[in-house]
């Protein structure tokens, strides 16, 4: 159990145990130790730019894409509104907290402004969900896309509350415990902490009754109803959970950029989140983070790469698009699917002879 993503269930006839019983250190699989150690030691290995602009940004986008993965992968609902939920939280923090736009910002302390921002953004995502859950497939995508674009145009045209085209700048994290959280290393650890919390909670909830029931709704909504589940309520609850994750990411995003404007929640960024989740893989919660790091690396270095190849720098979007096209073309289930197929092949072929062997180990078992 614990933090593994396997589908095994605890033996039934064990000694009485409580829900946290599986969370002992020894039950954490090896890859987690490696990835965990790498992420924790990253500030020693890379400079502030990589830490802040690449990994910080990737972790935040990963969280937003994770909220989409939770809805899409476990719930079968593709929502394009997750970026708008994050931007909503960012705007609310700027409005209730501090920003350079002092005519609008109320300047309330962070411990008031952050909870308010999270509640409002989660409420916004939940309302969208309540509208979208009665539809399926492409109609869910259309409704959430419509709400995302409505949010974009509303923020761009409303000057009283959202300060129109320019939005808010000068939104900074609070100085707390004597640490400036905007500095690359503290900010990196802050995002790493919240990304890890979001990742582990999605992993945990996926095997809890609520998450299992959500996967049941994805596989067969009608049967879930015939088992006593209120399918609509379950889907809306999934939006609450996912929107909260996106809202937390939105707070981090406005601190990373120092500003929020209509462009944060445009149609482009909304679709980028979908691309990140699909390229990484929707099957597991780690997929969105893989997708996010690829996306951020491409966005950051494609231009330099094009120039170094003697090509025009403005065409960097072409390279970004080609790489994504390639990934989705070779592996419709994203990087995760690619990796899983590779691992299966490694497990099923003897590396010396190239012969196929059965799954449970050596050919001479």
């Amino acid at each position: 159990m614990a933090v593994t993503e396997d589908t095994s269930t605890a033996p039934i006839n064990g000694k009485p145990q409580s829900w946290w019983s599986g969370l002992s250190l020894s039950s954490i699989p090896t890859p987690y130790w490696f990835v965990g150690a790498f992420m924790l030691l990253l500030p020693v290995l890379v400079g502030p730019f990589m830490l802040f602009q690449v990994f910080g940004w990737a972790l935040i986008l990963g969280m937003i894409a994770l909220s989409l993965m939770f809805l899409g992968g476990y719930g079968g609902m593709v929502s394009l509104v997750q970026m708008s939920v994050a931007a909503c939280a960012a705007y609310m923090l700027a409005i209730f907290g501090d920003s350079a736009i002092t005519q609008i910002s109320l300047g309330w302390p962070w411990w008031v402004a952050i909870p308010i921002a999270l509640v409002i953004a989660t409420g916004f995502g939940t309302l969208t969900g309540a509208l979208a859950v009665r539809t399926e497939g492409i109609y869910t995508i259309m409704i959430t896309l419509a709400i995302a674009s409505a949010f974009f145009y509303f923020t761009r045209q409303n000057y009283v509350l959202f300060n129109g085209f320019s939005g808010f700048n000068g939104v900074k994290p609070p100085q707390l415990l004597g640490v400036d959280w905007r500095q690359p290393i503290p900010f990196y650890y802050l995002t790493l902490f919240w990304a890890a919390v979001a990742y582990l909670s999605v992993l945990y909830v996926s095997r809890a009754p609520f998450g299992l029931a959500l996967q049941g709704v994805r596989d067969n909504a009608r049967r879930m109803e015939a088992l006593g589940y209120n399918v609509t309520a379950h889907r809306i609850a999934a939006y609450v959970f996912a929107s909260f994750i996106a809202a937390v990411a939105g707070i981090l995003l406005v601190w990373l950029n120092g500003q929020v404007s209509p462009g944060t929640a445009g149609i482009g960024p909304a679709i980028d989140i979908l691309i990140i989740a699909v390229v990484g893989g929707l099957a597991r919660p780690v997929g969105p983070f893989i997708g996010a790091i690829i996306y951020v690396l491409l966005r950051t270095f494609a231009l330099d790469f094009m120039v170094s190849m003697g090509l025009s720098g403005e065409r960097f979007q072409l390279l970004v698009g080609l790489v994504f096209l390639g990934i989705v073309f070779w592996s419709p289930d994203g990087i995760l699917g690619l990796w899983e197929r590779w691992r299966n092949r490694m497990n099923s072929t003897d590396r010396l002879t190239g012969e196929t062997r059965d799954k449970d180990g050596g050919s001479e078992a």
Partner: protein, 268 residues
Amino acid sequence: MNAIANTSTMATRLSATGTANALELRGVSKFFGALAAMQDITLTVKPGERRAVLGSNGAGKTTLFNCITGDFLPTSGVVRMFGEDVTRFPPHDRIRRGLRRTYQISLLFGGLTVIDNVYLACRGVSRNRFSLIRPGRSDALMHSAAELIEAVHLTDVQETLVSALSYGQQRQLEIALALAGAPRFILFDEPAAGLSPTERRDLIDILNNLPGHMGYIIIEHDMDVALRVAESVTMMHNGRIFKEGNPAEIEADPEVQELYLGGGFTHG
């Protein structure tokens, strides 16, 4: 099947319901546009009664089930369960009141394991459906799920993904899902369809060994199965009730023989 009897608290709940009929349909009709799938059905089933519904394809048997479970709202008429008018209730509210059903074509959760499928069924009719806490090893519902799986002989594959099960195993799982919790009344929609002779015998055993207070309606084309698990029979034809009686009467009825047994259906 002791497992099912042990996990249910049926006896206590049943005594509270008094003498109300398990199921009562009054003039229930269902139209799809101008097409009458089911017309003026009046049907009473006593608690614990086991009834077979027979009829050719298109006779309205599955529509009848869908109206009882609430998958379809009837065009007119009243559906009562244990004395309560449930005509406008959504399916999940009827299920929580003790109704269960199986489907003619298995409706399972292919992306989940067998134990998770049954666990969901047990959880669906209990509290904390929205729980964010993972079930522990001593979880009572996990116990019930494992017992149900044992009752339908699927213990060996309980960790297997349902999409990887054989057809017969999926049919058995279909039944396990309907037996979860404390059913008071079950609708079986052709549970024997496509099963091997051995699997049929197992099915008949499972049905005959259900606790006495657990009534059911079974749709079954196979007369051998139907007449061995039911104490009363309703014949449907063209969306209407055509005959009602006990199995012997129905089997001996010349009109039934004409319509059903002689009507191109293989006997067994």
